[in-house]
């Protein structure tokens, strides 16, 4: 397998891996390193790539496992929390700040979920994976995925309503 062929295979889901890693590791740099590391692992084992049923699901599982390993490692104390700057030039400044605040709030809410629920929500609501694929990536049963997702969505909704009604009720 040539380098370009590998990159063409990998590029469609590279950003998905990055986003998944970032969901777990929070920091941009850590997520970049994780993605880089896993792609490198895939590249060094490129002979086996034909044997994988679903390279994307396999890579996502690797990302998940790698991130959990990173979080368990001693270096995890060095992980920094980095907030994203959402850019949206079309709206007025006041509105923009408000929106940015609300969107950062959603991200924070997701960060507070247990890691399993966070992963399910990331894969379903953001990456829009089918339940069967999520089950494959997370090595879980489909019913467990649904339960986790439902719990995550309900928790987020409760928090959002609380925030929305703050100062009103």
């Amino acid at each position: 397998m040539t380098q370009t062929a590998f990159l063409n295979l990998v590029l469609p889901f590279k950003d998905k891996m990055y986003r998944l890693a970032k969901r777990l590791l929070v920091s941009n740099e850590e997520a970049e390193d994780a993605t880089q590391e896993i792609l490198l692992k895939l590249w060094t084992n490129k002979i086996k790539i034909g044997g994988y049923k679903n390279t994307e699901a396999f890579a996502m599982t690797m990302t998940k496992n790698y991130c959990f390993d990173r979080l368990k490692s001693k270096q995890a104390q060095n992980l920094r929390i980095v907030h994203n700057n959402y850019k949206d030039e079309t709206t007025a400044l006041q509105k923009q700040i408000e929106q940015q605040d609300s969107l950062a709030w959603v991200e924070k809410l997701m960060q507070q979920l247990p890691s399993q629920q966070r992963l399910v929500m990331q894969l379903r609501d953001i990456e829009q994976y089918e339940f069967s694929d999520i089950a494959k990536v997370l090595e879980m049963k489909e019913t467990a995925v649904r339960v986790n997702l439902s719990r995550a969505r309900k928790t987020i909704r409760e928090q959002l309503i609380k925030k929305h009604n703050y100062g009103i009720k």
Partner: protein, 143 residues
């Protein structure tokens, strides 16, 4: 889109029973301008999903393995360790030996000094012998 329909979809969504198509429908509804006031809190959620989906990795991927200088740390550490063992086992006993030798010489010197002085003292005691013999002569002659 019918509001009733959206309400139903939200219910299904919370139970995680919506399909991808239905979730896309929800997304497009909440990214539109006219969201019903009682659903406004969901707006941020779906807006966030869209923004989060479009996030990309800023760095490009390189397939060359990163040079890992950390592995040389182990080599350096083993050198330091070996050197430490060497000095512990060889240099430290040497200084002890030197110290012992020094102590030995100093003791010897001190003992020599003592014996010299003792000899001087003993010579002086020799006069007492003279006194004794003279006294013996006198007392013998008296008897």
């Amino acid at each position: 889109m019918e509001l009733n329909n959206i309400d139903k979809l939200i219910e299904k969504y919370l139970e995680a029973e919506t399909s991808i198509v239905e979730e896309k429908e929800l997304r497009s509804y909440f990214s539109s301008k006219n969201v019903a006031p009682h659903l406004e809190q969901y707006k941020y959620l779906f807006e966030y999903f869209i923004i989060a989906e479009n996030e990309t990795m800023p760095k490009t991927v390189s397939l060359k393995p990163r040079k890992n200088y950390y592995k040389w740390f182990t080599v350096a550490a083993s050198f330091v360790l070996a050197f430490g063992f060497y000095t512990y086992n060889h240099v430290k006993p040497n200084t002890q030996e030197e110290e012992a030798l020094l102590a030995y010489y100093q003791t010897k010197k001190a003992l020599q000094l003592v014996s010299n002085n003792f000899n001087i003292g003993a010579q002086k005691v020799g006069y007492l012998n003279e006194f004794e013999s003279t006294k013996n002569q006198i007392f013998k002659s008296n008897k």
